[in-house]
């Protein structure tokens, strides 16, 4: 099974490991991530302005390329997933944005939201299945108490992202169980880490992350996992190494026994 894959800029720099472990794990699970050609930065932030078209075009290009290949488009970074998923929703449902974006794009056939956008975790849940994943685990991560950190971008707005219940998500906990570890449920797992505010107001971002980390630790988490490079950056500033924060793909690769093969 092949999927079109949109890695995004961060995964080529700071978050190379998020990307590399995902590719290796995918092969071990029997599917392939085919990086689309000539992708551009998603912009990092979904443009809320309804008349803002230009910054949505890179997403439309990626989406259309997957459509032409007849594949679903898989993402990994929470921010990229959020932007592309929401632009796709606009292309499907908002006439004005669809018309104007297509006027810019001049595609052979106008794009109207045909591609399905899947986050890597959704592939694991809905395409591979957590039961199947469990069977493929060779190195179950027993005795690890892991707190899932969702952040906000994967979950909200709930109706558009359609990822999980935004107030009480379970997908990462199910993932943790599938790789043999114990999930720790804590109430701040779907709260915002502050995102880009850390560029301007470091203290505010730190306050927000402190609450998350304290809550996770309080409920017994010994490690946090995330899918988002920016969340990881902010959380690391807060934990200062007290408890590790890792990408979920790293644990996946470890559980599947392919971690050692990956070169970063």
């Amino acid at each position: 099974m092949k999927y079109s894959y949109y890695p995004g800029c961060t995964l080529k720099n700071k978050a190379k490991d998020l990307d590399a472990y995902a590719r290796a794990s995918a092969l071990a699970l029997g599917f392939e991530l085919e990086e689309i050609e000539d992708w551009q930065c998603c912009g990092g932030v979904y443009p809320l302005g309804t008349d803002e078209i230009a910054s949505k075009l890179s997403s439309v290009r990626a989406l259309n390329e997957a459509k032409v290949k007849g594949q679903d488009l898989v993402t990994l970074c929470s921010a990229c997933h959020h932007v592309i998923k929401r632009v796709n929703d606009d292309m499907k449902n908002v006439d004005d944005i669809r018309t104007r974006a297509n006027n810019y794009m001049q595609l052979e056939e106008p794009y109207a939201g045909e591609t399905e956008v899947l986050h890597f975790l959704e592939v694991l849940r809905d395409k591979v299945g957590f039961d199947k994943l469990k069977e493929k685990v060779v190195n179950p991560l027993k005795d690890k108490k892991i707190g899932a950190y969702y952040g906000c971008l994967l979950l909200r707005p709930g109706k558009v992202l359609g990822f999980d219940n935004p107030e009480n998500p379970t997908i990462i906990e199910d993932f943790i169980r599938a790789i043999g570890a114990t999930p720790v449920v804590y109430p701040y797992r779907n709260e915002c880490c502050g995102g880009y505010i850390s560029l301007k107001e470091k203290e505010m971002a730190k306050n927000m992350c402190d609450k998350i980390v304290d809550s996770a630790e309080g409920f017994g988490a010994e490690m946090l996992i995330t899918a988002c490079p920016l969340c990881m950056y902010n959380l690391n500033k807060s934990t200062e190494g007290k408890i590790p924060v890792v990408y979920f793909t790293e644990l996946l690769a470890e559980a599947l026994g392919v971690k050692e093969e990956v070169e970063i």
Binding site: N165, E167, N168, V185, P187, Y188, S215, G218, F219, G220
Partner: protein, 662 residues
């Protein structure tokens, strides 16, 4: 040729401000058959009706058209006025130039043009009207009340006191409903059970009232005055005639792990159980899902300990068929599920509870014997936060758009009772608005704030955060102070929205009673017929019609009873003569009409016909006019055009359309 009079009403300025009524009358005079036309300020007034009657007599009118409001408003008024002047009431037609014209248009010229067209259509119809005579049907002097809560009990008592037989059908093992689950009632704080149980006993002891508990309405047929209803009496596995209600079976039952429905799942009950101590009837039922005997065949302890020999594992459901003249729906409500509100951590923490659960916690017969304690660890709470409007007044589709109406008052009640009994407990209430219209209601709320020191904060709560130490952190906003609030609490109580009992959809379908988008039963007129359903003979009592508190429910229950009594007091009802009729010469007996008839009013018979000298036997449709409701489904479906609706014949409808298109 008809001699038609046209009467154009001003309705004060309701019509006359937008429609040139004189012009309508003038134009009407030009129509075929019209011999008289006039306008008047209020046609429905006595003087207006007198003008119509005078014209009928003076001009020998054979039909009239009144251009006025909706026929739902005054058709009956004008029909009886005409009848008194010697005209058949079915020779009266209404052209609705108010709701269909003046109220919805602004431009006078256009509105006048439309009013003239509407008048023209009605005139064209009257030209083809024929006098009709209503039939008669007998009234069964017995009422059915569906639901045995306070609404159903009150309605039943009131109808029975007037001397008519009443049956109450209640789904659960006991009557009493939601009110039996409440601890105290606002605004007087009297104990709910203390005022309810005498009513329950009165209903049970009343010689005119029969109570079917643990029973459900299975099928309804017939029509106003003559309904036939099948009631399923579910097997209790306990013989009601033998059982003495001693309670030994419940004590000895080894299966005690089923969640108590009455205590909202906060504690457990035995497999053989009565829901609460004052249950009526005081006869237990066996929960077959939990009963060890039913599941494995081994046990039978209740049978062994029962001195009266009342246990009967072989009991079967029983269907009782009964005839009724009137049906009152009193199916009540439940609180909404909180699955869409995970931010309040209801499913994550035992110390986040709904207000109805708090009623059980506060009640001496409840899971904590009336002691206020946290359900997680049994500790006495020091800080309690109430959150109002959980699922009510919701703009998105997570919750309900309406105000549940009772929550502001019961939250004030809870806050006050807690502060009164436990002065060491701090109580905070988050609210959007505090709504207390009702006798002595606002005074009650102010007492909570001023005398009992309850801390009211205007603002919504965004999240309830369970802490590792078991406390709860409530994150909210104080809109008056423009501040974010993080408040530690030991318990959080959610004023959960109420919704109609989910079973009401099924019941409404059986009764062909209409229901709104929120599953509340629709009343016939929002202001003037609030306890009547649009289906004749079906009345509404209590929260099934819309949110209300106990005093309002009891008042409406009485009103519904009066309407039912008014119906039962009649020996005969006039039936609507606008029923379908089959032309036997055209009918080929194809059964299409019978298949679409929602009332089962069409049957077939074989007749001898002489078709151009050939005698043959042919199967033709026959309409039972007592059952036919005049919906017209058969007339449009009939492929040979044999079926026609009296008073709304195909010719008349086409004449109207022609008149509009002319």
């Amino acid at each position: 040729m008809q001699r038609i009079g046209v009467f154009v009403c001003h309705c004060g300025s309701n019509i006359a401000a937008t429609v040139d009524v004189k012009k309508v009358a003038e134009m009407a005079l030009l129509e075929p058959g019209v011999v008289h036309a006039e306008d008047y300020q209020y046609m429905c007034s006595e003087a207006g009706q007198a003008r119509i009657q005078a014209a009928i007599k003076e001009k020998n009118l054979t039909g009239i058209v009144v251009c006025s409001c909706s026929p739902r408003m005054h058709e009956n008024t004008f029909r009886s006025a005409a009848e008194k002047a010697g005209l058949n009431p079915y020779m009266v037609e209404i052209a609705n130039i108010r709701e269909h014209c003046s109220w919805i248009h602004k431009d006078m010229e256009e509105a006048t043009k439309k009013a003239v067209i509407l008048a023209r259509a009605a005139i064209a119809k009257v030209n083809l009207n024929a006098p009709l005579k209503p039939g008669e049907s007998l009234v069964t002097k017995r009422a059915l009340v569906i639901g045995g809560g306070i609404a159903g009990i009150q309605t039943a008592i009131d109808i029975a006191d007037a001397g008519y037989e009443v049956d109450i059908v209640e789904k659960t093992p006991s009557i009493g409903g939601r009110m039996s689950q409440l601890d105290k009632t606002f605004p007087t704080l009297d104990c709910s059970a203390c005022i309810l149980t005498p009513k329950m006993v009165e209903a049970a002891a009343h010689e005119k009232i029969t109570i079917y508990t643990y029973s459900e309405v299975e099928a309804v047929s017939g029509f106003v005055g003559d309904f036939t209803v099948d009631i399923r009496k579910k097997a209790r596995y306990v013989d009601s005639d033998k059982c003495t209600g001693c309670g030994v079976c419940q004590e000895k039952c080894p299966s005690k792990k089923s969640l108590s429905e009455f205590n909202r799942g906060l504690n457990t009950r035995s497999a053989i159980y009565t829901p609460f101590a004052q249950a009526i009837p005081n006869v237990p039922v066996i929960d077959t899902d939990a009963c060890i005997k039913m599941k494995t065949g081994k046990c039978g302890i209740c049978e062994k300990v029962c001195q009266a020999g009342a246990i009967d594992y072989q009991q079967k459901d029983e269907i009782v068929t009964q005839k009724y003249g009137a049906i009152v729906v009193a199916t009540g409500f439940d609180t909404i599920k909180l699955d869409n509100y995970d931010e309040y951590a209801y499913n994550q923490s035992k110390d986040v509870i709904t207000s109805l659960e708090l009623e059980r916690v506060m009640n001496a017969a409840g899971p904590t014997k009336g002691h206020l304690e946290r359900l997680s660890d049994g500790k006495h709470p020091k800080e309690i936060v109430f959150i109002q409007c959980v699922g009510s007044r919701c703009a998105d589709n997570r919750g309900k758009s309406y105000c549940s109406k009772i929550c502001c008052m019961y939250t004030a009640k809870h806050a006050m009772l807690i502060r009164d009994k436990y002065p060491d407990v701090n109580v905070t209430v988050f609210y959007i608005d505090v709504r207390t219209p009702g006798k002595n209601f606002d005074e009650f709320y102010r007492r909570a704030v001023e005398d009992y020191g309850v801390n009211y904060i205007k603002g919504q709560v965004g999240k309830v955060i369970p802490q590792p130490d078991g406390k709860l952190l409530v994150q909210g906003a104080d809109l008056l102070d423009n501040k974010q609030i993080l408040k530690e609490a030991d318990m959080v109580v959610l004023a959960t929205a109420i919704e109609p009992n989910p079973d009401v959809r099924k019941i409404a379908t059986m009764l062909t009673a209409s229901i709104d988008t929120n599953n509340f039963l629709t009343e016939s007129h929002a202001k003037l017929r609030p306890v009547e359903s649009p289906t004749a003979g079906v009345f509404l009592s209590g929260v099934c019609q819309g949110p209300k508190d106990i005093p309002e429910t009891v008042a409406q229950a009485g009103a519904a009873a009066v309407k039912a009594i008014g119906l039962l007091a009649k020996d005969k009802l006039l039936t609507n003569p606008c029923t379908a009729k089959s032309d036997q010469l055209l009918c080929n007996g194809c059964s299409t009409c019978a298949n679409v008839c929602p009332y089962g009013a069409i049957s077939y018979e074989d007749i001898e016909v002489n078709d151009h000298g050939i005698r043959e036997t042919r199967r033709v449709a026959v309409v039972n006019s007592a059952l036919c409701q005049g919906c017209g489904a058969c007339t449009v479906t009939c492929p040979s055009g044999a079926m026609d609706l009296q008073g709304f014949s195909n010719r008349q409808i086409i004449a109207e359309v022609d008149a509009i298109c002319r």
